[in-house]
C-alpha cells in the first residue's frame, strides 16, 4: 500500500489571493462588508452623533462643548417640551386606535366577495402611495380657514353659519391633524390586516358556522384570535410611524397654534434648525427613544409565539 501523497507538498504554491478566495471566513467577511459600512455610515454614526450632540451646547455655526445633562435639565423644566410630549402621546394614542378600528373594519369589508374587489383594494392603498407632503397640502386646503370645502359643504347644507376654524383653534387643530394622519395611516393597517385575514382558512369559518356561530361569534372566536399575531406587528409599526411623524404636522400647522400641535419630532426640528440650538434639538430627539423602546418592548413580548402557534413536540 502506498501512502497517499500530501496535496500540500505536491501542489504548486498558490498565491495569497487565491488562498483567501477559498477561505470561508474571509469571504463571509468580504460579502458582509458593504452592508456593514452602509449601516455604520447611515445608521450608527448619525444616531451616535445625535446622542453626543444632546450632551453639548452646539449651535449652528459653532462647535459646542460637553455640558453633561444640562440640556435635559433645561427641558425638564420647559413647559413647551412637556406640552409636546403630551401632544405626541395624545396624537399617537388617538390616531393609532382610530387607524386600528377603521383599518380592521375596512380589511373585513375587503375580505368579503365584493364586485370589483381588486379595484377597491387598489384604491384603498392610494392615501399611502401619495407623498405625505402632497396629501398634507391637500389637507391644508381642506382645512383652510376661509375656503375649506368641509365648511363650505356644511354651510350649504345649513348645518353651520360660519366657516370652521380648523387649524386656528387648539382643540380643532389637534383633531384635524389626527384626522389627516388617520386618513394616511389606514391603508397600511387595512392592507396588512387583509393579508392576515386571507391566511385564515375558509374552512374554519365554515366549520364555525356549522357549529352554530353567528357572524359576530365567528369574528369574536375565530377571526380575531387568529389575527392577533398580525395585529401586534402591524400596530407596533403603526405606533412607531405615528410617534415619529413630522411631515404632516410641519406642513399643516408647524406646531401651532400656540404649540398645541407640536410633536416631539417637530419641536426638535424647530429648536435645532430654525432656532439654531442643535444640542437642545438633539436632546429632544433623544428623549423620544425611551418611548420608542417601550413600544418595541411591548411588541417584542406581545409578538412572542403563543402556545397554540408552537409546532409539534410534546
Amino acid at each position: 500500500m502506498t501512502m497517499p501523497s500530501s496535496a500540500g507538498q505536491n501542489a504548486p504554491q498558490r498565491s495569497l489571493g487565491a488562498r483567501l478566495g477559498n477561505n470561508r471566513d474571509f469571504l463571509g467577511f468580504l460579502f458582509m462588508l458593504p452592508a456593514a459600512v452602509f449601516l455604520l455610515c447611515f445608521l450608527t454614526y448619525p444616531l451616535g452623533l445625535g446622542v453626543w450632540l444632546g450632551f453639548t451646547d452646539t449651535k449652528i455655526g459653532r462647535d459646542g462643548i460637553f455640558i453633561g445633562l444640562e440640556n435635559y435639565q433645561f427641558l425638564w423644566s420647559d413647559s413647551v417640551f412637556w406640552m409636546s410630549v403630551f401632544n405626541t402621546v395624545l396624537y399617537t394614542t388617538v390616531a393609532s386606535v382610530l387607524k386600528f378600528a377603521l383599518g380592521l373594519w375596512l380589511a373585513l369589508l375587503l375580505n368579503e366577495h365584493l364586485p370589483f374587489k381588486s379595484f377597491f383594494r387598489a384604491i384603498v392603498l392610494l392615501p399611502w402611495v401619495v407623498p405625505t407632503v402632497l396629501s398634507a397640502l391637500a389637507f391644508w386646503w381642506i382645512y383652510d380657514a376661509q375656503f375649506s370645502i368641509v365648511s363650505w359643504s356644511l354651510m350649504k347644507m345649513g348645518l353651520i353659519d360660519a366657516p370652521i376654524n380648523f387649524l386656528g383653534d387648539p382643540t380643532n387643530a389637534r383633531a384635524s391633524v389626527i384626522a389627516a394622519n388617520v386618513w394616511r395611516g389606514i391603508p397600511f393597517v387595512a392592507i396588512s390586516l387583509l393579508a392576515g385575514l386571507q391566511t385564515i382558512p375558509a374552512s374554519l369559518q365554515e366549520a364555525a358556522s356549522l357549529d352554530g356561530a353567528s357572524s359576530w361569534q365567528r369574528f369574536r372566536h375565530v377571526t380575531l384570535p387568529m389575527l392577533t399575531p398580525i395585529i401586534a406587528v402591524v400596530m407596533t409599526f403603526s405606533v412607531l410611524f405615528t410617534f415619529t411623524d413630522f411631515q404632516l404636522i410641519y406642513v399643516l400647522t408647524k406646531g401651532g397654534p400656540v404649540n398645541a400641535t407640536h410633536l416631539m419630532a417637530t419641536l426638535s426640528f424647530q429648536r435645532a434648525i430654525p432656532g439654531g440650538q442643535l444640542g437642545e434639538g438633539a436632546a429632544i430627539a433623544v428623549a423620544m427613544v425611551p418611548f420608542l423602546l417601550a413600544a418595541i418592548m411591548f411588541s417584542f413580548f406581545g409578538l412572542q409565539r403563543r402556545k397554540w402557534q408552537q409546532g409539534g413536540g410534546d
Binding site: 374552512s203 374554519l204 366549520a207 358556522s209 357549529d211 356561530a213 372566536h221 397554540w308 402557534q309 409546532g311
Partner: protein, 355 residues
C-alpha cells in the same frame, strides 16, 4: 337522526352547471358514500347539503323538512372537513366544546358530552393539547369528536382520510365504520377513493360530470355496473375492456378487434352488428393449460396473489391469479375466461346490455 333527500338538485357557478339534476334518497341511519373522480360535483353536493353553497334548483330535505334556504347552523348537521378545520387557538377540549358553548349549554353538560366523545375516540389524554401538537390521525379524531359532541341529525364527511398516510387511512376507515355502527347516525361521506367507498358504505352513489351514474350497494355496483363509467371506476385493478363485435355467424361468441374469439354464456338482443365492449374483471381470468396462450407484459407478485398484465384480444389485460406463477415478461401463459361473469356494453352509449 334523519332521512335526507335530494330531488332534482341543480347547481351552477355563473352559467356553468356543475350539478345537473341529482336525485338521491338516503334512509335514516344509512351510511352513504358519494364517489367519483375529481370535479364530478360530489363535494359541491355535500356542501349544498351543509348549507355552505346555495342551491340553484331542486330541493334538499333533511328529516322531511326542506332546507334549501336554511343557514348551516339551523340544519343540525356536523361536518368533518378534509383539512379537519380545527380551531388552532383552542385546545382539543375547547374545539369539541365550541358548538355547545355557543349554545350556552351548562358547563356540566359540556364536560359530560366532551368526555363521552373523547372516550369513544381515545382522546381523553389529549384534551389539553393544541391541534398543532397532534398527529394527523389524532386531528382526524378530534374533528370527528367535534361532530359527535353535537349529536346532529346527519354527519357529513368531506374526503376526511385523504390527508393521512396509507396505513393510517386503513385504520381510520375501520374506526369510522365502527363509529357509525355504534352511533347509527345518518352519514354522507365524500371520497374519490373507490376502495373507501366499497369498504365502508351501505350505499354508494357514483357521480360523474355533475350527474349520478348509479346508486346501489357496493356489491351491486361491482356485479352489475350500469355503464362503462361505473364498470371502470369500481374495482381495483380495474375491469378490462376489450373492444369488438358479436360473431355474425355465432351470437354466443364475441370477436375482438384482433380476431380473438371470446365466449359468452347468454344471447344478447340488439347486440348484433354494433360496436361492443367486452368487460372482464381481472379475477375472472383463470390459468388453464387448454386455454388461450398469451404473452406476459408485466408481472407483479404481491405474495398473496399474482397480478399480471398480458397481451390479449388486442388490449393489455390485467389478471389476478391466486397461484404463484414463475412466467417472466415475454413468456406465454395459458388462460381461460369465466364467461359467466362477463359484462357486455354498447361502445357508443356506454350502457350495459342485458341478455
Amino acid at each position: 337522526m334523519a332521512t335526507v333527500q335530494f330531488a332534482e338538485v341543480k347547481k351552477s357557478f355563473g352559467a356553468f352547471p356543475v350539478i345537473k339534476g341529482v336525485n338521491i334518497d338516503i334512509e335514516d341511519g344509512e351510511f352513504v358514500i358519494l364517489v367519483g373522480p375529481s370535479g364530478c360535483g360530489k363535494s359541491t353536493l355535500l356542501r349544498m347539503l351543509a348549507g355552505l353553497e346555495n342551491i340553484s334548483g331542486g330541493e334538499i330535505r333533511i328529516g322531511g323538512r326542506q332546507v334549501n334556504n336554511l343557514p348551516p347552523k339551523e340544519r343540525d348537521i356536523a361536518m368533518v372537513f378534509q383539512n379537519y378545520a380545527l380551531y388552532p387557538h383552542m385546545t382539543v377540549a375547547k374545539n369539541m366544546a365550541f358548538s355547545l358553548m355557543l349554545n350556552s349549554a351548562p358547563q356540566a353538560e359540556i364536560d359530560k358530552r366532551v368526555n363521552y366523545a373523547a372516550g369513544i375516540l381515545g382522546l381523553t389524554n389529549l384534551l389539553d393539547r393544541y391541534p398543532r401538537q397532534l398527529s394527523g390521525g389524532q386531528r382526524q379524531r378530534v374533528a370527528m369528536g367535534r361532530a359527535i359532541v353535537r349529536d346532529p341529525q346527519v354527519f357529513l364527511f368531506d374526503e376526511p382520510l385523504s390527508n393521512l398516510d396509507a396505513k393510517l387511512r386503513v385504520a381510520m376507515r375501520a374506526e369510522i365504520k365502527e363509529l357509525h355502527q355504534r352511533l347509527k347516525t345518518t352519514t354522507v361521506y365524500v371520497t374519490h377513493d373507490q376502495i373507501e367507498a366499497m369498504t365502508m358504505a351501505d350505499k354508494i352513489v357514483v357521480m360523474h360530470d355533475g350527474r349520478v351514474e348509479q346508486i346501489g350497494s357496493p356489491l351491486e355496483l361491482y356485479d352489475r355496473p350500469n355503464n362503462l363509467f361505473v364498470a371502470s371506476f369500481i374495482g381495483s385493478p380495474a375491469m378490462n375492456m376489450i373492444k369488438g363485435r358479436l360473431d355474425p355467424q355465432d351470437p354466443m361468441h364475441f370477436v375482438a378487434k384482433d380476431g380473438t374469439r371470446l365466449p359468452l354464456t347468454r344471447a344478447y338482443a340488439n347486440a348484433a352488428g354494433r360496436d361492443l365492449v367486452y368487460g372482464l374483471r381481472p379475477e375472472y381470468i383463470r390459468l388453464d393449460p387448454n386455454g388461450y396462450s398469451v404473452p406476459v407484459v408485466v408481472t407483479e407478485p404481491t405474495g398473496y396473489e399474482t397480478q399480471m398484465v398480458v397481451q390479449f384480444g388486442g388490449a393489455e389485460v390485467s389478471c389476478v391469479f391466486r397461484e404463484r406463477i414463475p412466467a417472466r415478461p415475454g413468456e406465454n401463459i395459458s388462460i381461460t375466461i369465466d364467461a359467466e361473469h362477463v359484462h357486455l356494453f354498447d361502445e357508443q352509449t356506454g350502457m350495459r346490455l342485458t341478455a
